[in-house]
Symmetry: C2
Subunit: 345 residues, 2 copies
DNA sequence: CGTGCGCACGAGAGCGCTCTCACCATGCTG
DNA sequence: CAGCATGGTGAGAGCGCTCTCGTGCGCACG
């Protein structure tokens, strides 16, 4: 735990290079309009002194921070006890880094914490925010919009339907669900059930919608509600078997739910996929590949989602647009999904 | 994507409250030495104007940022495709938040990226750093030490043996391994094998040491090297069965490895735990509970590790110490592990 | 009643940077 | 050859805050 040494200032570099502060500043920020001789001289001085600009001083005048907040709400941190979180973060990080932006991570801890996040964002410490808050009743999005911080959401916010200015990046949950169910139908299955996710999240609702798109005449008996967890999957599967013992296919809202379903199916003596075909969602790798049998599932490109969120945000901040007004204002993006065939369906 | 509005300054608050800037500053920073009447008046003005201090301006003069960098090296981000990362981060976040510090996340992408991180840390943007870099040959720790930023490491760095000033937080990998092996021995097992983790990481090396502590006379035939992945676990288990078909217990370096081992054992017709007892490490919940049979494993309190890292760092920054010099300089901490008995051993 | 002390407050100087603007060479046009 | 763009450079103001000092006041003391 060493202590920081005093760092050289612009002034020091200017003195050493025999130019003015202004010129050094110009060189440090690209060097346009400075003769090559001087640029060279300043660069040398910078190297020799090990000069690094003081970001605080810079922000004070530019009102830019080159920093973006990533807000993850508490309920999500549980969901993110899977690679989802890490991957998305990685995509975000890559994109931000490529544009020299820092990533300030804000994890909320319970609802009281929302105020703190709101205050922080309103405090103008960051240029924008990437927010994961997929619950319908979450006050956070509203709070953030009010804070006046440019924001891109991860996953469609529940209330976004009526607001045109909300920008989000999402997977094509509905389309992916349709693909899954169509695949099951293509296998000749006719009694295709669906185990939902937590329906207060748009992803779960959208997947259910996709299922219904294909199974227009599915009775409610074939739909069981769960919560994205293996335990929930078990419960729902048992329920389904009771209501409809001759079910021959299950589309689970995510891979973890599918794991629970698989376990119950096996315990009931049914073979997968011979008796009951099973499809998950996410392609959560350590899980989907390890199940018995390996899980057919709908893959979403999670890292790309993160990257895209960051890209949209930065574009909105005019970091990217070469000329003012050239880039259209960013609008939401829905990424395609792909069905990954393994052995469970 | 709304745009930020101009924010009120100290000056504005001062004018409204009819006091000087200095007084407002005093109130905002605790209010010592200001008459209650004025404190009240200033507070009111702050509320009415929705004043939030400009952190950049403040940092410029205080040279404090109330921000801490969390550095995660690339190889780790893969390992952290498990709840490890999220949990640790959560612990860190909680502790930092409690002390009004921000969390700046730095994920490195390949070795070239180290320089960037070094530059950032040397740039004095943050008051300290929490670093995850558990590989023996990683240049990052050295780089960071040279940057002169107070740092606490997550996991014992490979080269820390000879350096007294390195502060880290780690689990008692060695002790946990000993417990696991002793438990297996206590079950009457005599041919207890060990599947190692990636031995360029101290955690893997320490667990191997713990195994050896108990199995002082274990032949090399009972040790197979793997890499913390299920696939590695499978490979190693096959190897072990070949070399020692009558093995009756396996201590795997982590839960994922154990999953691979379980699969091979089952495929070979052996029953767990009847024929072969298996113990993992981590208690990675979605995994350990879902295996067949549920996995006996060594649990480490991951969130607490994160919290502790942050606490040590902040203490080192004198955020905590009520009086100068009262708190001893922070030293490394090794957290205990606990054996969680399920059904595999 | 004068002196001294302590306390509450304000004035003002920076922190390190960016950015506007004025200045001074040039080089070109009329 | 005067006049005027043009482009490179420096001087200086100011971003919003903290913090040191100096000032004025009330009070206890001699």
């Amino acid at each position: 735990m060493t202590d920081t040494a005093p760092r050289p200032t612009l002034e020091a570099v200017a003195a050493r290079a025999g130019v003015s502060r202004a010129t050094v500043s110009r060189v440090v920020n690209g060097g346009d309009g400075v003769r090559d001789v001087l640029v060279e001289r300043v660069r040398k001085a910078v190297d020799e002194l090990g000069y690094v600009p003081n970001q605080a001083a810079r922000s004070l005048v530019t009102r830019r921070h080159d920093a973006v907040a990533v807000v993850v709400a508490e309920p999500e941190t549980r969901v993110f006890a899977d690679p989802f979180f890490a991957l998305q973060l990685r995509g975000i990080s890559k994109e931000l880094t490529a544009h020299d932006n820092q990533l300030v991570l804000l994890l909320t801890e319970g609802r009281d914490d929302h105020a703190r996040v709101g205050r922080y964002l309103a405090g103008g410490h960051v240029d924008g925010a990437l927010v994961f808050s997929l619950h319908l009743d979450d006050p956070l999005p509203e709070l953030i919009q009010r804070a006046g911080v440019p924001t891109v959401f991860g996953g469609r916010p529940g209330w976004s339907g009526d607001r045109r200015d909300v920008v989000y990046v999402d997977s094509d949950n509905r389309g992916g669900a349709r693909d899954a169910v169509r695949h099951l139908a293509g296998l000749g299955r006719t009694r295709i059930a669906h185990i939902t996710g937590a329906l207060d999240q748009t992803s779960a609702a959208d997947r259910l919608d996709g299922y219904r798109d294909v199974m227009v005449d599915a009775g409610p008996g074939l739909i069981a509600e769960a919560d994205f967890t293996p335990a929930g999957g078990e419960r729902a599967m048992r329920e389904l078997l009771e209501r409809c013992p001759d079910v021959d296919a299950v589309f689970a809202a995510n891979d973890l739910t599918a794991v629970g379903a698989l376990r119950v199916l096996r315990a009931s003596g049914r073979r997968v996929p011979d008796d009951v075909a099973v499809i998950g969602f996410d392609d959560m790798l350590p899980v989907a590949e390890q199940t018995d049998p390996p899980l057919t599932t709908v893959r979403q490109d999670i890292e790309e989602m993160g990257r895209l969120m960051a890209r949209l945000l930065l574009r909105g901040l005019d970091r990217d647009a070469p000329r003012e007004g050239v880039g259209a204002p960013p609008s939401s993006v829905v990424l395609p999904t792909t069905l990954v065939r393994r052995e469970s369906a």
